[in-house]
Each structure stands twice: as structure tokens, then as C-alpha cells.
Amino acid sequence: MADNNVVLMQGNEACVEGALIAGMKFYAGYPITPSTEIAEISASKLPKIGGKFIQMEDEIASISAVIGASLAGNKAMTATSGPGFSLKQEGIGYAIIAEVPCVIVNVQRGGPSTGLPTSPAQGDIMQARWGTHGEHSIIALCPSTVKEVLDVTIRAFNLSEKYRTPVIILMDEVVGHMREKVELPNPSKIEIYNRKKPTSSPDDYMPYKVKDGDIVPEMPSIGEGYRYHVTGLVHDEYGFPTNDSSIAEKLITRLVEKIESNLDDIVEYEEYRLADADEAIIAYGSTARSAKSAINLLREKGRKIGLFRPITIWPSPKQQIEILAKKVKRISVIEMNLGQYYLEIDRIAGKYTNVTKYGSVNGELISPDEIISFIEED
């Protein structure tokens, strides 16, 4: 690759770059620190490639417009931070039940409420999982470098198209604003997944029926001749509302299972110096960067320690964590909150090994020194 393909860019910029490679044609958003650059760069780039950018009146409107755009056939994204992420939750639930692909970026900052607008945090881990009401599953990805923001954003679009579900990208202020060298990929070499369009005639089309061998129903765009009904109500395979309890059970179970039974495809993670490790750290996002430095220093002191870094935060890499738990005498979950992902790790690993946690909510990045003293002390 020629050198001119290596550029210095910010995480938020890499997010837009990845989205455009993935085929984003629509962005709707409402400004909020530390995500605003995603809107600004989208506003500048989308009109040049025939895409649509709109600044909506709030975050509820933004997620709603994104869902509408996706139904009309555009790959669509919105970005926000904590307060706006809260506002989008009802819309995310709609996208889940109506099976509308879309990407929601949350560049996390300190909370609750307006909190620490310009400081990093990882306080929305559980909100990403359970923020919208009702039983559901969700895909949430968590990059820790600028290059990975680009890759993860492409993947978020691909997964959303493949599974017809909203995909959340959980960044944090540090990952969003940090500048790093990124080697831009050759778009022609990247695998792009597009939603499967119906092959049957409109007369035979059943909008919410999954064909044998498929994961999700086929999805036409509004205006292509398949005049179907989209609703947030529980619906039958024809797309129409129903109170039938067996249909409700079947639909909600299918929506959960299409994600939970495809973990092999959805789950992505990194293992760092784990091969010979007898203890492990689990960390994600910018915290994982400090964890790596801490691990290198601890290794110099003779500890056999490694990092397991989930890139897919939800659904959690259950199988891999279980295997790890059976191998090591201790797992420490390090995160910029007081133990949110710890709950999930302890649930999976707690019966096999000692699971401990270290967290902070002061708006500062957790430093390698802090991690080292936690590991050595405990």
C-alpha cells in the first residue's frame, strides 16, 4: 500500500470513514459532545456522494428519521452521547421489533444526566444492553483504537444489514477524540453486506416470514412495489398487529435467537498475552489500552497475566470467557464505571474462578499504574 493511504485521524472521523465504506447514505443527528464531529464530518461528506444529512430537532427525531431512511432503502446512522442515547431508546426498540437495520453510535461521557460532558466514561454498558424496554437482544461493539473504530463501524453496518437489527457502537470520549495513524483500507477489498431483497413477487411476499435457510425475513425498500405494513406492535408474518400469545412468543423469541444463536459470527474479541497466563484482565475500549501497558509491566515483574478484550460487548463472548475462567485463577474486570460489565463477567465466570473488579467514575482514564497497584494489592 502506498504511504498516502496512511492518514492521521480522530476516532470520530474514522467512524464516518468506516460508515461511508460500509455504504452509509443517510445520517440524522443532534449535536452533543463528544460525538459532534461525527455529525459535522457526515454533513460535509454525504452531499458529495449523493447521501443525505439532516440535523433533526432532537435525538428522538434523529433515530426516528434514521429508521424511516432505512425502511426507504438507505443505510443509516446516528451518533450521540449519554443524554441523547437515553432519548433514542424507544426508537431502538422499534428498530428491534420491526427489524430495521441501523447503526447508533454512543461516544460515552460521564453521567448520569449532563454529567461530565467532556470526559470519558464507560457508564452506558448496561444501558446499551437493557436501555430499551421489553425482552430483546442487542449487538454492541466497542473499539479501542482509531483504526478499530473504522473497522468496527464497517462491521456494525454489516451486522445490522445481515441480522436486520440496530447495532450500537460504544465508543468513549478518549477513543472518539484521540488521533492516531490509520491505514485506510482499499474499499474494494472489504466485504460489504447488504440486506437481502425479496425474490418473490409482491403478491407472494410475506414481510416477516423467514425463509428456510435464512436468518431474517427479506426486506424491500418502500416504493419498490411491496406494499407492506411496518409496526412496533407485535405482528404476524404478514406484518399486521396481533394479540395472539403464541405468535407473540414466537416473534420475540425469534428476535432474541437470531442474535443469541449466532454468537460465532457476531462475537469478536482480542486475546493479548493470554497463552501462558494464569490470571487475566478483561477490559474494553480505551481502558484496554491502559490494561495492555499494565500487563507488559506486570509481565516484566514476572506475573503471568494477559488481557481478554471483548470487541463485541453484547452479546457477550460467553463461551470464550468460560474457557478463560476455567484456565486462570483470577479475572479482573477493569472499566470506567463501578462494575457494570463485571456483573456479566461474574455471571459467566464466577462459578469457575475468582472475579474481581476495579473501576472509576472520576472522568479520568484509568492509568496503567492504577491497574498495576490493583492487581498487586488484591
Binding site: 447514505k25 443517510f26 440524522a28 452531499p47 458529495k48 449523493g50 443525505k52 439532516i54 433533526m56 430537532e57 432532537d58 428522538i60 427525531a61 434523529s62 426516528s64 428519521a65 434514521v66 429508521i67 424511516g68 431512511a69 432505512s70 425502511l71 426507504a72 432503502g73 438507505n74 443509516a76 424507544e90 426508537g91 422499534y94 425498500s221 418502500i222 416504493g223 419498490e224 412495489g225 406494499r227 407492506y228 405494513h229 411496518v230 409496526t231 412496533g232 406492535l233 399486521f240 398487529p241
Partner: protein, 269 residues
């Protein structure tokens, strides 16, 4: 004649509808469909978007592209749809609560952008779906289940609101004057911009009963008696205006439309 319209435009296997005996929503819905028929539009090119409420259930009965969204957000969904595919005729069906309470912000901003969406409000002066709570369109003094001693809020004039916010076509009619609804929806669809059409309908079950307004016929008669064409209304004294509602085409203006402005911006590149 009516049944021909039903066969052509309704999802007949979805009928009967959920609306109560005496509900006026069917008249509004038929008028919308009749307007579409008069314009000779292709069903594939029409997208009906609705929010949540009794009125918003209308989308499910129609054989167009239909999107039944979340409470109050129909216009925001519709904005995403229209902006994505400006060739579609996007029609929003919404209730007075859906459009003016929870969705009020989206209403004023869709109007401000002058995006080419035709909004038809089914104003029954009450929250029907949830059983008769007062809405922003419940007249002061009237009762609702959450206003047992009379509503102390002032109600919105929805048309004035849409006009002030930037709508380029604003009209009002009643279910007594169904032909007027048809004409207005036709004009609204033809208007390249944000069209706001308020239809005064009736909810005998919740609003009527709570407020001793009589049966459906009494309520329609009342609509007939209180609605006055805008040209005649303007000639009335302030006193005479007090208990009258102006109907007809209330406001029109020329202003470039949102998706067209965006298209011309794209041509810069």
C-alpha cells in the same frame, strides 16, 4: 362507489377496524383515499406514516406502503422516508395528542423545514386510545378522565401553530364536510411542501360521553353548526366568532421545499 374504493385501496382482510360505533375516523380515512383516487396516484408511490392512537391505526387498513411508528414520532419517521426517497408521496396520519403533545416538536420542525409531507390530523379533542384523557386540543373547561373538574389548560389552535411554524398549506374541515376534506387532501398532496390538514372528528365514546355532547349524530350536528367557512368567518364580529370554528383553506404560501433545496445543494459537487 364506496365499496369500489374499499376494494381498491383498503386491506379488506384487515377489516373490521378497531374504531367504536359512532367514531368519525372512518369518514376521514375514506376522504383521504378518495383524494388519492381523484389524483390517480400509483399505490406503490404512496407511503402512509402514522403515530400511535386510535387514528394512527388507520395506516394498517390501507393498501399502500404503511408505517405505524411510535407515539408522536410519525413526522420524524416520515422525514427520513421522504428525504431518502423524494419521489414518494408521504402522508402522515396522526391524532391531536400524537401530533400536538408528544409530537409537537416534530410538527413545528417539519413545518419549518417545509418538507413535502401531507399531514392529516384526526382531531377528536381527546386521547381516545388510552380512554379519554384531555389533550392539547381539549377545549378549556371540558372534561377528560384526567380533568374530572374541567380542563384548566388552554387548547391549541393547531392550524395557527402549523402556519406560524412554516407550513405552506394549512386547512381545516370537519367530518360533516367530507367533500371539503377530500379537496383539501388533494390540494395538500399537490402542494410541494409541508401541508397541514386538520379534520375535526368525533369521539362519542370518550369525549362525547364525558362532556354530555349527545350521540354521534348530535356531535356531528354540533360540528356542522359551529364550523363556518373562513370567508364568512372573517366577516363575523368577535362575539360571533367566539363559538365558531373557521374551516376551509386557511393559509397558503410559496417557499422552496426541503428535499428540493437539498438536491440543488448536492448539484454543487
Amino acid at each position: 362507489m364506496v365499496s369500489k374504493l374499499i376494494d381498491k385501496y383498503y386491506r379488506t382482510d384487515r377489516l373490521p377496524h378497531i374504531w367504536c360505533t359512532g367514531c368519525g375516523n372512518g369518514i376521514v380515512l375514506r376522504s383521504i383515499v378518495k383524494a388519492i383516487d381523484n389524483l390517480g396516484l400509483n399505490k406503490d408511490d404512496i407511503c402512509v406514516v402514522s403515530g400511535i392512537g386510535c387514528s394512527s391505526r388507520a395506516s394498517g387498513y390501507l393498501d399502500f406502503n404503511t408505517v405505524h411508528t411510535t407515539h408522536g414520532r410519525a413526522l420524524a419517521f416520515a422525514t427520513g422516508i421522504k428525504f431518502s426517497n423524494p419521489n414518494l408521496h408521504v402522508i402522515v396520519i396522526t391524532g391531536d395528542g400524537d401530533c400536538a403533545a408528544i409530537g409537537g416538536n416534530h410538527l413545528i420542525h417539519a413545518a419549518r423545514r417545509n418538507i413535502d409531507i401531507t399531514t392529516v390530523v384526526f382531531n377528536n379533542n381527546i386521547y381516545g386510545m388510552t380512554g379519554g384523557q384531555y389533550s392539547p386540543a381539549t377545549p378549556t373547561g371540558d372534561k377528560g378522565t384526567t380533568a374530572p373538574y374541567g380542563n384548566i389548560d388552554y387548547n391549541f389552535d393547531l392550524c395557527e401553530l402549523a402556519k406560524a411554524a412554516g407550513a405552506t398549506y394549512v386547512s381545516r374541515s370537519t367530518i360533516y364536510a367530507a367533500n371539503m376534506i377530500i379537496k383539501q387532501v388533494e390540494e395538500g398532496i399537490k402542494n410541494k411542501g409541508f401541508s397541514f390538514i386538520e379534520t375535526l372528528t368525533i369521539c362519542p365514546t370518550y369525549y362525547g360521553r364525558k362532556n354530555s355532547k349527545g350521540n354521534a349524530v348530535d356531535m356531528v350536528t354540533h360540528l356542522k353548526d359551529s364550523a363556518v367557512n373562513i370567508s364568512a368567518y372573517e366577516k363575523l364580529s368577535e362575539e360571533e366568532k367566539a363559538n365558531r370554528i373557521p374551516i376551509g383553506e386557511l393559509y397558503k404560501r410559496n417557499r422552496p421545499e426541503y428535499t428540493e433545496k437539498y438536491e440543488s445543494m448536492m448539484k454543487l459537487f
